[in-house]
């Protein structure tokens, strides 16, 4: 609360400024309070929790310790978890890019009402719960699902295992993260000058050559932004991995949830969530370097 008090105090001294500092503070106070109580304090507290001493019984002693960090860093299970998470998320990012690119390019080239309709079709899934979309994937991928009943109709004896494994999680998350990638790519295409493509085509380049030499290189910033978004969202999603993985797919985010809700080991959950943030930080740093190298 002392932060608010300081803000209020500065406001008092600034009240006689012509810009109306008191008014500004009064208008911003509610949002600042929500931010403080619901965001800053909990996140700060979370970082501290990962450094809290815990007894064997699970009770927190109030002392400090790096024991959780040491035990996580020295346990091969968590390294494998981290590697699994990064590998899976990179795979999802690549798959998302590959299926999103044609849609984004198509959107970029279309216009008028048709384009608006398609854009709404791209955006609408974002407004639909991940639970609903994951449920749809269960209906498609399960043993009695769409894919397997088609395979059965063609005489397959055994159902194809598409769920409760990484395949299902990858397919589901790829689709769920597509809108973010498409929007980032479309925004990136916005800077593409149609005259450059036209010029290349007039000078005799084949459509594929125009794509490879002009469209693709110029869309790299959009690809980079979309990939960053997709990657960090893949690392932190857990609804889809939980439901499509059926408890058999272990990723960083699902482990955070399990430790927090099932095992109730909050210091461990806090430590793992800090590792999620470290992965985020590294991804953003890589993105920043990439963008700078493009110029």
């Amino acid at each position: 609360m002392s932060a608010t008090a300081t803000v209020a105090a500065t406001a008092g001294s600034a009240a006689d400024r012509p810009a109306g500092g008191g008014l500004v503070v009064a208008l911003l106070l509610p949002i600042a309070l929500v931010n403080l109580v619901g965001f800053l304090l909990p996140v700060f507290n979370l970082a501290l929790i990962s450094l809290q001493e815990v007894q064997a019984s699970g009770a927190m002693t109030g002392g400090w310790s790096t024991a959780k960090w040491v035990s996580v860093v020295t346990d091969d299970f968590y390294w494998e978890l981290l590697w699994n998470t990064i590998r899976t998320s990179l795979g999802i990012t690549l798959a998302t890019l590959l299926v999103s690119y044609p849609i984004a390019l198509y959107l970029h080239r279309s216009s008028g009402l048709w384009r608006s309709v398609l854009l709404v079709m791209v955006i609408s899934p974002l407004l639909l719960s991940a639970v609903v979309r994951t449920y749809g994937w269960i209906a498609i991928l399960s043993d009695q699902g769409v894919v397997n009943s088609v395979l059965k109709a063609f005489g397959a004896a055994e159902p194809w295992r598409l769920m409760f494994n990484l395949t299902g999680v990858t397919i589901g998350l790829t689709e769920i993260l597509m809108p973010y990638m498409i929007l980032a790519l479309v925004a990136g295409f916005g800077r593409l000058d149609p005259r450059a493509e036209e010029a290349a085509a007039t000078l005799g380049a084949s459509p594929f050559r125009v794509f490879r030499r002009i469209v693709l290189p110029l869309s790299v910033p959009g690809i980079a932004l979309g990939s960053l978004l997709t990657f960090v969202l893949a690392v932190s999603s857990f609804i889809t991995p939980k439901l499509l993985g059926g408890g058999r797919v272990f990723l960083l985010a699902t482990e955070v949830y399990d430790q927090a809700i099932v095992t109730l080991d909050w210091p461990l959950a806090a430590t793992l969530s800090m590792i999620v943030l470290v992965v985020f930080g590294i991804a953003i740093a890589v993105y920043g370097r990439l963008v700078r190298s493009i110029g």
Binding site: P30, N35, P42, V43, S111, V120, P125, Y135, A139, S142
Partner: protein
């Protein structure tokens, strides 16, 4: 505007990609009319029994009503907080306005799983877990950044000349805001309100952390149902939710243009 022609190959690829994108939403429609006890596709028989089953499921109905009330309450409070804040940040433009905007929208950058855990730990300590205020604050924190951003954008694109004209003609600042600024930013308010309602209504990660056996939202109840049982009940609920979402999206699109809210 001259655009390069779309090649048949691109059309084909885009159509396949669109099919993939919409597949999970499209599949729940026929599935919701299944007459089977378990989820299988194609269904062996057809019926409306799963729609009837929703009405006989008090847990789902209760969760739905709570989700609607929560989303509506969150939206009202969001607008009440974000309109003054946007006005201060955009129109009064105090020193550090940009830094403050970043801070206020920062909860969006944090993974919800981390935010959910952070709230779980602190809310458990002050006894707000699985309570209405706890869920309310959690939803407020993740929806407020969207609302602030949409309203700030709406406000900053308004022609300031009209407001200046009103002020020059002698209207007090409060009158200018009430009679000129507010009516002009109405489309932005509608979009922000709809977005806030939908994000809160669909929110599942924070709600999972903050809810308990006695108090949960519709997405949380659906999550638990899908986790434990494979029947077409959730398909029927999903179809109703798709219709519900679509209705809101169309209303917003009519009043503002949804595409403009997301893509500049």
């Amino acid at each position: 505007m001259d655009k390069p022609p779309i090649s048949p190959a691109l059309k084909c690829l885009a159509a396949i990609a669109f099919l993939f994108l919409l597949a999970p939403v499209l599949i729940v429609v026929p599935l919701s009319f299944s007459g089977d006890v378990f989820m299988s596709f194609p269904p062996k028989s057809w019926s409306g029994r799963w729609y009837a089953a929703i009405l006989q499921n008090p847990k789902m109905l209760e969760a739905f009503l709570f989700s609607v009330k929560l989303a509506a309450g969150v939206t009202v409070v969001n607008l009440a907080i974000a309109v003054p804040a946007s006005y201060a940040l955009v129109r009064l433009a105090p020193r550090g306005a940009e830094a403050m905007t970043s801070l206020f929208t920062a909860p969006l950058l944090l993974p919800t799983i981390v935010l959910g855990l952070a709230m779980l730990i602190i809310f458990a300590r002050i006894g707000l877990l699985a309570t209405v205020p706890g869920l309310f604050v959690a939803h407020l924190v993740v929806t407020l950044p969207y609302v602030l951003r949409v309203i700030s954008t709406a406000l900053s694109t308004l022609p300031i000349a009209v407001e200046e004209a009103a002020a020059t003609l002698g209207a007090a600042p409060a009158t200018v805001f009430r009679r000129v600024t507010l009516p002009m930013m109405l489309p932005g308010l509608v979009a922000a309100g709809a977005l806030s309602f939908l994000v809160s209504f669909d929110e599942v990660v924070l709600s999972l952390f903050m809810s308990g056996p006695r108090l949960s939202t519709l997405p949380v109840e659906m999550y638990h149902h899908v986790e434990s049982r494979a029947d077409p009940l959730v398909a029927a609920i999903s179809v109703l939710l798709v219709v519900f979402t679509l209705a809101i999206v169309i209303v917003v699109d009519r009043s503002l243009g949804l595409a403009k809210t997301f893509v500049k």
